[in-house]
């Protein structure tokens, strides 16, 4: 599947396209099919996202969305060396998901 990601213009926070808007949780990302460029252009024009781009992803065994490349998995989680600053500070296994 193809999902769309970018950063929030104001805060720089990593965001994922949910079909209706932008979420900081990769689990909310939806398959954009061949619509990535159109959505990206529209959303960037409206300043709801900065530098959006489409990436490959898959649904993992737990039903979650898993970006294909480690860089985007780290973007989705947060820095692996500071679990306290990730989106899943209470999950000791969260870092393994990245690898």
């Amino acid at each position: 599947m193809k999902i769309l990601t970018g950063n929030d213009l104001r805060t720089g926070q990593v965001t994922w396209w949910t079909g209706q808007g932008w979420s900081i949780h990769v689990e909310d990302a939806v398959d954009v099919g061949d619509q990535a460029d159109a959505i990206a252009a529209r959303e960037e024009g409206a300043r709801r996202v900065n530098v959006p781009y489409a990436i490959n992803a898959e649904i993992d065994e737990k039903g979650g969305v898993r970006p294909a490349h480690i860089k985007d998995r780290i973007r989705a989680l947060g820095p692996t060396v500071r679990p306290d600053l990730t989106l899943k500070p209470a999950d000791p296994e969260a870092g393994n998901w990245v690898i």
């Binding site: 720089g12 860089k71 692996t80």
Partner: protein, 544 residues
């Protein structure tokens, strides 16, 4: 240390106001990202993996307590309570919001700091010896010249759109503690046979994808022609440096392709022309700058005695302290490399503490080192034990300077959008391995440096042991290099062979360390043994 005059302050304040307006226009949609990006980069604002990243310049690594307190306040108020000291003697914040950035720059301006020219194809922050003005072995204090170069290069209209970024380093001792020959221009202040002081210019060094050691271009430039000669070096580069290919645009490629003799000839020609133009700053300006770098009020007759009866303290003194030019004083380095920690990271609380200790024990002065540590340059030996106790209590007492635990690591794939692999977890595992197996102290000086990609911000080419993160079919992989060095005998590391996984690279480093321990001769460091026995014994042990 240098303090802004009204011109410095006016320039920085004007830049803050300008950026505030630019950011507002971007947020209001009056500028596209393509239009805004070069403007934010000129103010040190990158877009990284998790947020915007702001790189703040620490001129030649020198800062006072008020500035360090402000860096801590910014970490608390606008970031997530910490900052990352870099190999360019700067500090980076990882979680910055665009909407806050102008306020941060305004706060920085209040303490005579900024983020100007910390990115882009311009002359970056001037780097220097972290022991400048304190070291027993220096000829003179290089910082007035670093400051003169800072003023000359700030907003220099001719050099704001160079073919590529440009890094200058100034040192004034035989021992090179600043990787001088791995800069675009490395300047060593020297004395000639007639006893005059001048500057030796090394031009065309650098790391990155094509590492090169800067060749000596001119042995002696009179100090009252320093800026003129630097301008000539830059002019030749600006004219002929390649703009068609980003990967061949650094001055090292130009010097290499022309040959150092031809490059030097062209510089001489330009230099002769510039001498007729009288561009050197007036001597009075240099004298004005020098006054800011006068020695602090050292106590005459201070005792040289240090009570070393506490073995932990004695180890810290042995490893982390350096001889001072003034009797009764010593230079102390605070290691930002606790076992298993993140190299170069400091929390706001730690920054506040270092600021307080710098004020109380080091004449209100601190230095950031290219090895990502903090120096208190002028500590009275009589105060050293108390200082160490306070550091140790706060987890800042690691006695591991220049050891295998004192690892340089770039932010890598945990933070950097250009990275191929993570650097920090590798550094953490190596420091834990060696702290655990007890070999650190036995190994002695062993500089290990890790970069998360070929850009080499972690100086892997110059590590006695270097590690380079690469992308191997979507997986993190690590190449091992041996034999690099950034000192006066600068050398570039060589790749041992096929790369390793994250755990594999830790084992490989351990095996390389064991080869050294087995083969070393009296007085040899890891690097000396490697240079004597060569790569093969290491390869056999690692891949055998």
């Amino acid at each position: 240390m240098y303090r802004y005059d009204k011109y410095d302050q006016a320039m920085v304040d004007a830049r803050v106001a300008e950026f505030r307006d630019q950011a507002r226009r971007r947020l209001e949609g009056k500028m596209t990202e393509d239009q805004f990006k070069p403007l934010r980069l000129q103010n040190g604002l990158y877009l990284q993996l998790h947020a915007y990243m702001l790189r703040v310049a620490v001129p030649y690594g020198t800062l006072n307590a008020q500035q360090m307190h402000m860096l801590a306040d910014i970490a608390d108020k606008y970031d997530r309570g910490y900052g990352h000291f870099t190999t360019r003697q700067n500090i980076q914040y990882n979680w910055i919001k665009l909407e806050d950035t102008a306020d941060i720059l305004a706060d920085l301006a209040k303490v005579e700091m900024h983020a100007i020219q910390t990115s882009g194809n311009c002359i970056r922050n001037i780097s220097s010896d972290q022991y400048a003005g304190a070291a027993a072995d220096e000829l003179i204090d290089p910082r007035p010249y670093a400051e003169l170069l800072r003023q000359w290069s700030s907003f220099h209209p001719e050099f704001l759109a160079l073919p590529r970024k440009f890094k200058i380093c100034v040192i004034a001792s035989e021992t090179d503690r600043a990787a001088m020959k791995l800069h675009d221009i490395g300047i060593r202040i020297v004395k000639n046979d007639a006893g005059e002081i001048g500057a030796a210019f090394y031009v065309g060094g650098g790391m990155g994808r094509t590492p090169m050691i800067a060749p000596l271009i001119r042995e002696f430039v009179p100090l009252d022609q320093l800026i003129t000669y630097a301008e000539a070096c830059l002019r030749v580069y600006n004219r002929y440096g390649r703009r068609d290919n980003k990967f061949k645009a650094r001055i090292k490629i130009l010097v290499h392709e022309l040959g150092k003799e031809e490059y030097a000839r062209q510089v001489e020609e330009e230099f002769a022309h510039l001498l007729t133009q009288d561009i050197e700053p007036p001597l009075a300006e240099l004298e004005r700058i020098k006054e800011y770098f006068a020695d602090p009020a050292f106590e005459a007759g201070a005792s040289d005695e240090i009570d070393l009866s506490d073995p932990d303290f004695a180890l810290w003194v042995k490893n982390n302290c350096h001889a001072h030019k003034q009797p009764g004083y010593i230079t102390a380095t605070i290691s930002l490399k606790p076992v298993g920690g993140i190299p170069g990271d400091a929390s706001a609380a730690q920054m506040h503490l270092m600021a307080e200790l710098g004020k109380e024990y080091s004449f209100d002065e601190m230095r950031v080192t290219h090895a990502q540590n903090i120096v208190l340059p002028h500590v009275k030996k009589a105060d050293l034990y108390t200082l160490w106790q306070k550091l140790d209590e706060a987890g800042l007492g690691a006695a591991n300077l220049d050891s295998i635990e004192d690892i340089i690591a770039c932010p890598g794939l945990d933070y950097c959008s250009l990275a191929n692999a993570r650097s920090i977890p590798v550094a953490q595992k190596i420091s834990e391995r060696f702290a655990g197996n007890g070999k650190t102290e036995t190994l002695g000086e062993l500089k290990l440096k890790i970069s998360g990609c070929i850009n080499a911000c972690g100086h892997h080419h110059a590590g006695h042991i270097g590690i380079l993160g690469v992308d191997k079919k979507g997986l993190e992989n690590y190449q091992l290099l041996l034999g690099g060095c950034e000192g006066e005998d600068t050398s570039l590391g060589k790749i041992t062979g096929p790369g390793f996984t994250e755990d594999g690279i830790v084992d490989a480093v351990d095996k390389a360390a064991d080869v050294y321990l087995a083969q070393r001769q009296e007085g040899e460091r890891f690097l000396d043994t490697y240079r004597r026995i060569g790569m093969d014994p290491f390869k056999e042990a690692i891949y055998g």
